[in-house]
């Protein structure tokens, strides 16, 4: 099983809200719209459940990219959850950018339950971006100890 000698395969975590994006991912699956296996999905009730700490945790544990998907603004199952999530993620991503972490490693995309195509397109383009950025070395330890 060793992959030591293989070329870079990124670890990508995707947080998907149960009502829209997770269903969108299911639709991508049932439509056989492929995207790289590097993406692993974690189901959350709503994008507003995604704590910035989860994202930092993923990076610390070796993730090379983290993407969060939720219902389109205005369509949240809980009415307002994704509005809060949007502000939280905007600020978090801006902070990561500020400390020199490549902005391309983080992303938010709104994917509805009907957008299987968008889900797969999004994942394909995100993975491509992570490949181009290569391995994440900067976020292992924010104290930046070497």
């Amino acid at each position: 099983m060793s992959i030591e000698n293989k070329s870079f395969r990124p670890k990508i975590v995707a947080f998907c809200c149960n009502w829209c994006s997770y269903a969108g991912a299911d639709l991508a699956g049932s439509s056989r719209l492929s995207y790289p296996a590097d993406v692993k999905i974690i189901r959350v009730p709503c994008s507003c459940r995604v704590n910035p700490m989860f994202i930092l945790r993923a990076f610390e544990k070796g993730a090379d990219g983290v993407i969060m998907c939720g219902c389109h603004p205005g369509d949240c199952h809980y009415s307002t959850g994704n509005f809060y999530a949007r502000r939280r993620m905007t600020l978090l991503f801006s902070m990561l950018d500020y400390i020199g972490v490549e902005n391309g490693r983080t992303r938010v995309e709104w994917v509805s339950a009907a957008e299987g195509v968008k889900f797969s397109d999004t994942m394909n383009s995100f993975v491509e971006k992570i490949y181009s950025l290569g391995e994440n070395v900067r976020l292992g330890d924010l104290r930046c100890r070497n």
């Binding site: 991508a28 296996a37 959350v44 700490m53 945790r57 993923a58 369509d75 009415s79 307002t80 797969s120």
Partner: protein, 662 residues
């Protein structure tokens, strides 16, 4: 330590063709806590479920991971299977290795590797799962309808017909609402009273419906299925049981100067009054502000003439406390105040009226007994001008930014009725757009133009100029001919914007129902849940949710009734156990979580805690699990990490993250 069983489904070849299922099962055994792993053709089949049950019994499993299709497909199936075998259903997690794996990947090695990781994440989560019990709450099988207009009446009738008790609370002395003030209705032009009155009678005669008129909701507590409501029954000064509705008191009442609310202040009524002839109940009220007896102590004529002895000057407001399972808001609308639109001379000239006032003028029971005449001098008009969008579609702070939706149609109706009854009267309509989406609506408008010769001019009016000769000079645009028009009119009718009844803000606050910037109540989902408030157990009927005409209101009233019936039909409510909970020892009581909760589920209590020996009273967040829907917004807002979500706890999600990134 959990004892976890992992069950890998082949889903025929759906999964097994791309994922090495036995490899996944084999790898599962290496995960912490896993004591059993197997793969099977169809886990969701009866045989598959039996395998799960057997393993639970034999291996004394405390947790289960099923690697199969999407949890949106079969999570409920496997949870039920586990429950039947004596395991808490919330100890089951699904690893989605079909939609998220086998179906989208082709390479077997790659797909198998991913499936293993998804299995690991699910195992890591189950390791931290705790048995959850859905809460139960009882349902009081009675509904409250706030507002007794057509929306409230229809909702009440539909709920009552399904066999549930319904109470209607109406602020004014009679039910009937705005519709009772209308003369004719579009697009069929039938008489409003003729179709409304039977419904009012039916509601009042229905054995399941109780009507509180001249009453207001004073306080609401509780939650879905179990609301407690205080209703203030304002003193009517007339004994409802004794009154026969003969009407002598109204005839004899010497104080006849109070403006008639029902006729929009266009004429006066007596101090003791029923708002209109078909009022239900047909019991008058004494307007204590206008009554001579109440103002000076002298008079008492109504009491003297009442043969039933029903007049009771001593009557006091009464508070009735009642329990309800569901509440329907049907508070309706009013027209906006026109103080900020003085360019239309509404306050300067009696001959400039609103469309709702025109309804009263056209109505046989109205101030002019149905004759179209100028209110200034009683003369029959020859030229009528209608101005559309007065206060609607205004993004300045004078009016409303929305389209009031009903004006185009009722103006076409008015124009048509006038042209029909008074063929010598010319009717001109100044419009910005004519909006007629609806069955037979555009045909109706075109009929006004083509058959009745109503003159439609595209362009707004800038000013209505009263003339010394008593006429009104209307200065408007004709945008299509690109000219400014000066038209002399005898009467001007303003299609005044409608707005939610001003009381609705107070009511929404009591109900913790959300409300938008225009004071319309917000629906739970703009498309999929249009008659429910985001607050569980609160339903919306009629214009309180957004502008609508009568057919739409009735349709929505029925829909709200069905939703309420669906709730009342349950004996108990199972509450979703995946709700937020606050750790008392960590909570700061800072109110941050409350600010993001869309359901008003979080309140604060001063509570004594024992924090490692230190006893003190602290302000703490308390989640009402009957209201919480489990979105988790509060858990992230909480700075101390006190707020956590059962079923999706911080530690569970982090365990999944770790497993994926391992």
């Amino acid at each position: 330590m959990q004892r976890i069983g992992v069950f890998v489904c082949h889903c025929g070849s759906n999964i097994a063709a791309t994922v090495d299922v036995s490899k996944v099962a084999e790898m599962a055994l290496m995960e912490p806590g896993v004591v059993h792993a197997e793969d099977y053709q169809y886990m969701c089949s009866e045989a598959g479920q039996a395998k799960i049950a057997d393993a639970i019994h034999e291996k004394k499993l405390t947790g289960i991971v099923v690697c199969s299709c999407s949890p949106r497909m079969h999570e409920a199936t496997f949870r039920k299977a586990a429950e039947r075998a004596g395991l808490n259903p919330y100890m089951v997690e699904i690893a989605n290795i079909r939609e998220h794996c086998s179906w989208i990947h082709k390479d077997m090695e790659e797909a198998t590797k991913k499936a293993v990781i998804l299995m690991r994440a699910a195992v890591a989560k189950v390791n931290l799962n705790t048995p959850l019990q859905p809460g139960e709450s009882r349902v009081t099988k009675r509904a409250l309808i706030i507002g007794g207009g057509i929306a409230g009446i229809q909702t009440a009738l539909d709920i009552a017909d399904a066999g549930y008790e319904v109470d209607i609370v109406e602020k004014t002395p009679s039910i009937g609402g705005r519709m009772s003030q209308l003369d004719k209705t579009f697009p069929t032009l039938d008489c409003s009273a003729c179709i409304l009155t039977p419904k009012m009678v039916e509601a009042s005669a229905h054995e399941k419906i109780k009507i509180y008129t001249y009453s207001e909701v004073e306080n609401v507590s509780g939650f879905v299925g179990d609301f407690t409501v205080d209703i203030r029954k304002k003193a009517r000064s007339v004994d409802m049981d004794k009154c026969t509705g003969c009407g002598v008191c109204q005839e004899k009442c010497p104080s006849k100067k109070a403006p008639s609310e029902f006729n929009r202040g266009l004429n006066n009524r007596s101090a003791i009054y029923t708002p209109f002839a078909q009022a239900i109940p047909n019991v008058p009220v004494i307007d204590r502000e206008a009554c001579i007896k109440f103002k000076t102590g002298k008079c008492g004529i109504c009491s003297k003439v009442c043969q039933a002895g029903a007049i009771d000057y001593e009557q006091k407001d009464e508070i009735i406390t009642e329990k309800y399972g569901a509440i329907v808001v049907a508070t309706g609308f009013d027209t906006i105040n026109l103080d900020k639109y003085d360019e239309y001379a509404y306050s300067q000239s009696k001959d400039v009226i609103t469309s709702l006032e025109l309804e009263r003028v056209m109505n046989a029971a109205g101030p002019t007994h149905g004759h179209l005449e100028r209110l200034s001098d009683g003369k029959a008009p020859k030229e009528m001008v209608f101005i559309q969008c007065v206060g609607s579609r205004c993004s300045d702070d004078r009016g409303k930014p929305y389209c009031s939706k009903i004006c185009c149609m009722y103006t076409a109706k008015h124009a048509m009725l006038i042209r029909d009854k008074y063929p010598d009267v010319n009717v001109t309509v100044f419009y910005i757009d004519v909006r007629t989406p609806g069955k037979n609506f555009d045909e109706f408008y075109r009929r006004a133009v083509e058959q009745y010769g109503v003159n439609y001019i595209k362009g707004q009016v800038g000013k209505v100029i009263p003339q010394p000769n008593g006429k009104l000079l209307v200065q408007g645009s004709d945008l299509l001919d690109n000219r400014q028009i000066l038209k002399e009119a005898d009467m001007v009718v303003l299609a005044t914007a409608i707005e939610p009844n001003p009381d609705v803000r107070k009511i929404a606050t009591m109900l913790t129902a959300s409300i938008d910037t225009n004071n319309f109540l917000t629906e739970a989902h703009a498309k999929l849940r249009p008659v429910e408030s985001p607050t569980a157990g609160i339903f919306l009927s009629g214009v309180c949710q957004g502008p609508k005409d009568i057919p739409e209101t009735v349709a929505q009233a029925g829909a709200a009734a069905v939703k309420a019936i669906g709730l009342l039909a349950k004996d108990k409510l199972m509450t979703n156990p995946c709700t937020a909970h606050s750790d008392e020892l960590l909570c700061n009581g800072c109110s941050t979580c409350e600010n993001v909760c869309p359901y008003g589920a979080i309140t604060y209590e001063d509570k004594e805690v024992n924090d490692h020996g230190i006893r003190e009273v602290r302000r703490l967040a308390v989640v009402n699990s009957a209201l919480c829907q489990g979105c988790g917004a509060c858990t992230v807002a909480c700075p101390s990490g006190a707020m956590d979500l059962q079923g999706f706890s911080n530690r569970q999600i982090i365990a999944e993250v770790d497993a994926i990134c391992r």
